[in-house]
Point group: C2
Amino acid sequence: MSASPLLAQLIEALRCLPGVGSKSAQRMAYHLLERDREGGLRLSAALAEAVEKVGHCESCRDFSETPVCAICASASRERGLLCAIESPADRLAIETATGYRGLYFVLQGRLSPLDGIGPKELGLDKLAARLAQGEVRELIIATNPTVEGEATAHYLAQLARQAGVTPSRLAHGLPLGGELEYVDRGTLAHAFGSRSEIPS
Amino acid sequence: MSASPLLAQLIEALRCLPGVGSKSAQRMAYHLLERDREGGLRLSAALAEAVEKVGHCESCRDFSETPVCAICASASRERGLLCAIESPADRLAIETATGYRGLYFVLQGRLSPLDGIGPKELGLDKLAARLAQGEVRELIIATNPTVEGEATAHYLAQLARQAGVTPSRLAHGLPLGGELEYVDRGTLAHAFGSRSEIPS
């Protein structure tokens, strides 16, 4: 029993965060009330504003508070390259790690018929229409290398070919800095089979 | 670079939670926006309400949105027993694990002269006044078994004796279900020295 119903309500509400159980929620609530009430207020306002205003970009389906997101609206991005990814977090990872200057299309999921997620849920009708416009010349398929991700990639490649767009896929192989001994068998077999000649 | 400034603001605000770095904050923000906008709104409201309304109980210094908290106001608690603890989380732990039916006094910290935390910051003047009233007959000192906690316990015990109140301390020894081999030396030495005869 907590001495304060409002505190109990806050602890319960914090549990909607992923990876936060009752113990962490309790620690967070105490921390905010004891040491960072200002941060708590800021978080409350940021949450309300984001939930209310952040929707999806009409063009790439990424999160955006404007109809078209900053990247899609940017004049400095190469419009002939389109990279299909599963989630907004993947976009952030690619933007941080690579020098990619093209555009994105965020599927917000992957094909998973058992969960009722088909081409329509991923906005693939929208993607097909966009590919048909002729502006895109290469569709870089960057879905995750899982079974469902591979199935989605296969579907996307067909979609691209139908529209006369070149589909491409991220390279698979040994991770940099990894050791052969600790790499999983599937990856090792793939890397072995896809070995390339060393240019002289 | 995030496609949405509001999203970036939310990720930054989430970092005020203890144990949440930029990666977790990002995951939390995406989760809330993708799958649980309702939970996000609930959390926002609960945070704002708690930060605004939850203060400290006049009697025990625990969190409370009323001047006197539910436990201190309860007629069914034994008013002769007072348990001094460092934080509200400790009260929750004692309430959950034990059948204690007395009252609490939350120090909201421990004596730590180097950090500028003296008797006044812990409300010990208030505690002394309460002990002097004569209602309390035993002060159960449940500070943590750390150096600072022990120093605080020593100070509290003196305070109790001055007011003619019996001070008591939680037992130290082997944790239940622990193994001798893995218990730290200090605890083992203490448990060995404080061994008790097995009643026949």
